[in-house]
Amino acid sequence: MVTRIEIGTRPGQTDSRGLAAARRIREHLGIAIRGVRTRDVYHVEPALSEAQSRCVAEAFAGPVLQQGAIGRIDDGPFDVAVSVGYRPGVTDPIGKSARVAIEDLLGLAHDETRTVYTSRLYLLTGVDRKAGERIASELLANEIIERISVQSYEQWCASDPDLTVPHVIETAEPPVETIDLELDDAALGELSRDRLLALSLDEMRAVRDFFRRAGDDGRRRTEGLSGQPTDVELECLAQTWSEHCKHKIFNATIHYSESGGTTETIHSLFKTYIRGTTETLDRQMREQTGSSWLVSVFHDNAGVVAATDRHHLVFKVETHNSPSALDPYGGAITGIVGVNRDPFGTGLGSELLANVWGYCFAPPDIERELPPGLLHPRRIRDGVHHGVIDGGNQSGIPYGRGFEIFEPRYLGKPLVYCGTVARMPVTVTGRAGHEKHPRSGDRIVMVGGRIGKDGIHGATFSSAELTEESPIQAVQIGDPITQKMMFDFLIEARDLGLYSAITDNGAGGLSSSVGEMAEMPGGARLELSRAPLKYHGLAPWEIFLSEAQERMTVAVPPDKIDAFIELARRREVEATDLGQFTDDGQLHVTHGEKTVACLPLAFLHDGLPEMHVEAVWSAPRAQRFRRSEPPIDPLAGAELAARFLARHNLASSEVLHRHYDHEVKGLTVVKPWIGVHRDVPADASVFQIDHESWVGYALAEGIFPTYSDIDAHAMAQAAVDLAVRRLIGAGARADRIAALDNFCWPDPLPGPGKPDALHKAAQLVRACRGLSEACLAYGVPLISGKDSMKNDAVIAGERISIPPTLLVSAIGLVEDVRRAMTLETGSRDGLLVLLGETRDELGASEWAEHVAQQPSSVPRCEPLAWAERYRLVAAAIGDGLVRAAHAPGRGGLLPALFRVARAADAGLDVDLAKLPAEAETGWEARLFGESCGRLLLVIDRSQEATWRRRLAGQPVEVIGELNSSGRFVIRDGESALVRATLDALTAAWKRGCSKPATNDGARAEEKGERR
């Protein structure tokens, strides 16, 4: 039996959630709804007594705002009731907390079998049932993870309160199967597809051949295994060999050519351009200074660099694109709490300091028929923000950086980047904090949440295969509180020296975490039947591969195991001993009496056949920018500037970003939004590392996806350059900047419907080269990275591929955060100085998009020359010669000038003719061009002689001055181009993302169709 309790707003009080829902229904769906009332519904099983239920309803409601009732609250008519609850098996964290409260409220003993199921009820007025159904499916619920029930008021009144709960129908545990691989090629390929193994024919053959050979091995026979793999073995291999885990494309041998040219062979992009770059810089640093600040790179969950005597810094950025496309909220929250586990599980465990995020979406106001199964970008955007906001805030981690990029091709796949910075103690209980040492004999302990069918095979399952009876498989939902409690416990255990190694359970679950950790001691024996499950009926391979969230795997020495388990119990965290590490070279998995997998680690990790990839570069057609006449009068110029600043990619999103906490932990010094009105984005955020020291770090990033339409080499270099320039401008040390590379690419492997795969592969090669050259020149090691190579969607026969996108996230050391630099001037005066040359480079710029042109002159970098420039500026900033610094980025000089003026609440007067620029550079390139290598500085007039001397030989000029007029004036020599008030520009810039100029959407649309 089940008890149903409803909690709703008391008459006379405000139902904020209802008001917000009504507003979204009006704005997003254009339905003229009259009102929405909301309620929270709790189903408690087994049922409570009448008196108990009353007590719960009263306590949950509280004294003022809400009312509670058993069954239903009766507070008047409505037109349509929409109930939204989880599907069977989906994590219900609120239900878990509610159970704890009910038990304590009623003085009941803790009971595992008691369950609370939560759902939301929306009572709609002013709509009919049909509209209610649309509102439910398009706005209030996501049917991948949620159940919807819609009733008219008459139906509602005629029915009893709904007492159904989303039980998982528990089935018998499926047996372990042996898979016959003695098949022809076609059948092998079919098997890979049917089981969602995502293995190529070569790889399937390699697996078959391995088991053929191993069949004669006495060992398999003694274990009761044959010359065919079990499903556990095959799934484990497919997971371990997946693109996600093995980065096959980055490790492939690539045959690269430019149309008509000779072919070059590259043995692994990763080894050549990523690791190779870092190794070169590490070597140079050791030669020059005798030591290196790189502590641990490329072999742990995240990159580690030295910072202070007490702490190293750890940094990792990941993507969670496909899950966020299916379930934006769940996918994104899993993205952020998932990436938290990477730095946390680095070395012996690190303490999380700050999150970063960045999203690439199709414009939220796009008007285009969307096929079923694809969510509207506005909905994706809302859900993703909401997910990362909840994930970060509830974990108590501030965000340091956040950005959004809007481009129509991200309709195919939104990109959701999430990253985390952590600090690692230099020593932990007398051991080096960055080293793990699981030993043979150590116990394998899984800590955290329970295992369900969540995330098995990731997002490759289509939603159509999900039924009411089958637990959700495609999507995991992160539960930050369970994870926070686990982290708190693990830090305590770490400082007591209770474990010898730790790693996270992410993709591939136990198969991946145990499989990887077993490499060090040289083997592992795992007993799957001990694993704690959310519900019965999981096949052994599912237990082994489940990506259920909030789990870490640790190696606990046998003499510490009792203390470890006891501490976990005390902290209300689940920890289970699942076996032990060994040194026999085997990953040996049992389920009860039966061996279900016995795989040599050597084959598991090194048996993957090498991939070969063809890459052919076709250069874009050269096309010039068609200049237009400058604005006929400066008021028209003002109008033009306002429209430009209101573009999605330039407008202010401060109000939205403030939903993310940016200063919990009390270490944030330069916040993400700064200036007199605290509404101008900072070039970089600056944090202390701990409360005891003023040494800190700065975070910034660079990303220019559309540049890859012209040349991915330029895209990569521009991204590195902007990230570095921003950190320099923030006062970071020029010789202590490190970066992470996150590649998100459309599929570069040939196949049906992919005519330009060879070009996409070539773009990848060129991006890697550009990245490597820039990092070598700037002395920026790549300390960690990730790639996601299948960002395409086929929609109604049309293939939409994202633009090849590289995000460069940079972290730089700041010696004293109290001397950090920003674009804030502190007063309404000062010379505006532009350092760096402006060139005719409008290719793929925001301005070119704005005026619907496709010139091919993409901004090019000269990192070798600019490295010296950045060292000079860093020194000038360090010596106090610079009052404010800002790196122009997307949109060029105009938005950069606007941000400096707005931050100071100052007017300005600038002459474009004074820009250090190539002679033939037109007014548009000067005002909107995105030439790299430039810094806008504000300098006191009294310092002019000094900085001119310090920057001698650099292209640098005074281009104007700040003033207290409140007017924003841009001239080109004699003629005034823009004469605007700062207030008018600010209003347009703030309106931007909420109400975009309508013609921008249409232009963006054209661009989407262009390729």
Binding site: Q66, S97, A101, Q394, D488, R658, H659, G666, G826
Partner: protein, 274 residues
């Protein structure tokens, strides 16, 4: 003498279960020369911790998301505290213990009935108010200007006229049933801290008031003034470089106090109990 007594104050900071401001809150007390005791709630709730709450002079309920704020901010933790520690908590208050709740800690105090507390008689742990969702729905992190009621019995705001602090919450609208109740609280000086606009007047208007709290209520104390809760975070303003405008002024602004002043006022009063 009083400085020595201040250093001997025993400060209890319960941690865990989703709370997350322990590092900065502990740092505030350390800056004032006191080493606080961070005790895991799982030990407090099960009486494994060797001391009782009433052995301390100062109880600090920190910010965070205890139990994810599920059901309502602070609700599950308040329910657990009442179920397992009611008598100990009442004994602590009976002895004149000082208690401060910040953000989630304030929500917990309200759900627990500590704030605004009974009009007379000892603390009965009966809730009389709610901290409802912000009018502009959702969490918001932005600095606000606050003004203290100079006629308040609140011990924690003594010596403070006006202060800048970050508000960082999604549920901070202070609601107490009929208007009369708010009048009474105001008369008794229990509405100790208000959000104010640029002119320094208490405001209900966003963004100066982030949640729409009536009369700009940001912090509330009990009848005695020894128990105080506030939504904004004094723990986030312990040095001048945490103020969002520090780069605007070459010399950090000194006209308004740091958040540290609130901890200091409480410690001073707690020292009298030592």
């Amino acid at each position: 003498m009083s400085a020595t007594a201040q250093r001997r104050v025993r400060v209890l900071i319960p941690v865990g279960l989703g709370l997350n401001c322990e590092a900065e809150t502990a740092h505030a007390f350390r800056r004032l020369g006191v080493e606080p005791e961070l005790v895991h709630l799982t030990d407090l709730l099960t009486h494994r911790h060797p001391s009782r709450i009433s052995d301390y002079q100062l109880l600090m309920l920190i910010g965070g998301f205890a139990y994810g704020d599920h059901v309502g901010g602070g609700f599950v933790l308040a329910t657990r505290l009442r179920a397992h520690l009611a008598a100990d908590l009442q004994a602590f208050l009976e002895r004149g213990g000082l208690a401060l709740g910040i953000c989630n800690g304030f929500q917990t105090m309200v759900r627990l009935g500590l704030l605004p507390g009974p009009v007379d008689g000892p603390h009965d742990l009966v809730p009389r108010a709610d901290l409802g969702p912000n009018d502009q729905l959702g969490y918001r992190d932005a600095w606000v200007r606050l003004q203290a009621d100079s006629n308040s019995p609140c011990i924690w705001t003594r010596g403070i006229e006006s202060i800048d602090l970050p508000a960082r919450h999604g549920e901070g609208k202070f609601l107490v049933g009929p208007d009369a109740a708010l009048d009474e609280l105001e008369e008794r000086g229990q509405l100790a801290l208000r959000y104010v606009d640029d002119a320094g007047r208490p405001t209900e208007i966003w963004p100066h008031n982030p949640n729409g709290s009536p009369r700009g209520v940001a912090g509330v104390c009990d009848r005695s003034g020894r128990v105080f809760g506030l939504m904004p975070h004094p723990d986030a303003f312990l040095h001048p470089w945490q103020h969002p405008s520090w780069r605007q002024h070459p010399d950090p602004p000194s006209s308004r106090p740091l958040g540290l002043a609130i901890f200091e006022a409480g410690l001073r009063a707690a020292a009298e109990l030592v």
